[in-house]
């Protein structure tokens, strides 16, 4: 088996892949941030006293967790104009789908974390006269955060990879550029290997940062 890896091609196409890399970054970080923030609110709804809030958030979470992300992406692009007459750009549709999907998973991480804190912590704080929101902010969440960090890291990694699905909507992110280049030059091996390496270089720092943070927090408390 004689195959010569065409490094020249990698060098030549690299600037195009970098453009894709930037779009991937623009999809990844905002959808992660929006998704986790929305997930926190959803988790509060899941834990609320109101049956309506609990039921509504449960339906939302299960809809997004139990259907393929690929369909969600396509759905926001094609079904939205039909349903509410708003045509989103491919990028906006992809960002929205990724953010909402992340919020569903984020909600479950937050809910699990909050529920894992013993009831005594709530009681200890409430007995001092603290309001519910203050207990959450001062007592529960600081303890939960440490427990949730590994799960958040997982989610961040998942979302980075999931963003490659946006290529089906012709969002010019990393995967899209990679597929385009590999069919243009008929060199999928070189191109897709490079794409994989770029994804790794994108994601690894995030997991490294998370591990460092985890280690640092383990020393306290």
């Amino acid at each position: 088996m004689e195959y010569s890896f065409d490094f020249a091609l990698v060098v030549e196409t690299f600037p195009i892949l970098m453009r894709g890399f930037l779009v991937t970054l623009q999809l990844w970080l905002p959808s992660l941030a929006i998704g986790l923030a929305a997930g926190f609110l959803l988790a509060l709804a899941r834990l609320a006293r109101s049956r309506l809030l609990r039921g509504g958030s449960l339906v939302y979470i299960e809809l997004f967790r139990d259907t393929p992300v690929l369909i969600q992406l396509i759905w926001f692009y094609y079904a939205f104009p039909i349903l509410i007459g708003v045509q989103l750009s491919p990028f906006a549709a992809a960002l929205l789908a990724l953010a909402l999907n992340t919020s569903a998973y984020g909600a479950e991480i937050f809910r699990g974390g909050i529920q894992s804190i013993a009831r005594g912590q709530w009681e200890g704080a409430k007995a001092l006269g603290m309001r519910h929101a203050d207990v959450l902010r001062r007592i529960i969440l600081p303890q939960v955060f440490k427990l949730m960090l590994p799960a958040f890291t997982n989610r961040a990694v998942e979302v980075a990879k999931m963003s490659s699905l946006a290529s089906v909507l012709s969002v010019h992110e990393l995967m899209y550029q990679g597929r385009l280049l590999s069919s243009t030059y008929y060199r999928p091996f070189e191109i897709l290997t490079t794409v994989a390496v770029v994804y790794f270089v994108l994601i690894y720092p995030a997991t490294f940062l998370s591990m460092t943070l985890e280690r640092r927090m383990a020393g306290k408390g």
Partner: protein, 271 residues
Amino acid sequence: MQAEPLSMPESTLPPPILQVSGLHKWFGSLHVLRGIDFSVAAGERVAIIGGSGSGKSTFLRCLNFMEMPTAGRIALDGTPLGRAAAGRPDEVRYPEGELCQVRERVGMVFQQFNLFPHMTVLENAMEGLVTVKRMKKAEARERALRELDKVGLGGKTDVYPGRLSGGQQQRVAIARALAMEPEILLFDEPTSSLDPELVGEVLRVIRQLAEEGRTMLLVTHELGFAYHFATKVIFLADGVFHEVGTPDEVLKHPRQERTRAFLERFTEFSF
């Protein structure tokens, strides 16, 4: 169900701080508290005894709304708390702000301490002052230090609770409650989860508070301590006050058969 008249050493008691009338508590189909009337005035020290499952902890926890009463009203300084729903006097709603105000004035020490593990001893004692009373950090710190000194933990301020013994943790919990300067302190079996050799240090702190004339309610199995601590002893059984009186009356000369039977099971205590 009405508690018998109390024979207090003083003939004139100050008006009650906390008043309970017709208190019932159901857990699902379990009727835990079956109609309790009770009041506590400044300077009183009440020990609540009874078998497990008698409802004594539930009763105490209703007083600062750690448990919501199913029926009955609780009044602070003569003002009933919560608002009855229109047409349904049994359904009382409690706004969060009102509950917080009550809890600020009625402090609690738990069996399991419930210290905040992510905060140091000092931060634990400061938390209520800073978050609830909106006190300045420096001022809160000063007051927290004073209370920690008082329970003998002035030297452990920067330690996390996880590094302390159970007895030390409970003393921090007491300091945390004291820092809020509550008018009434509730102790829910404060020594029950401690190793026997650590019980003494916690009881000593509670006795010291008694000497200061603080108003306290104590649910306990330490009958010997209850005898010396209390101005009034309540024997709770099946969710009602079965016998109420001075420590001498209830613990030494119980009139009710049920009380006698309960006390006989504690062979190890001595007055």
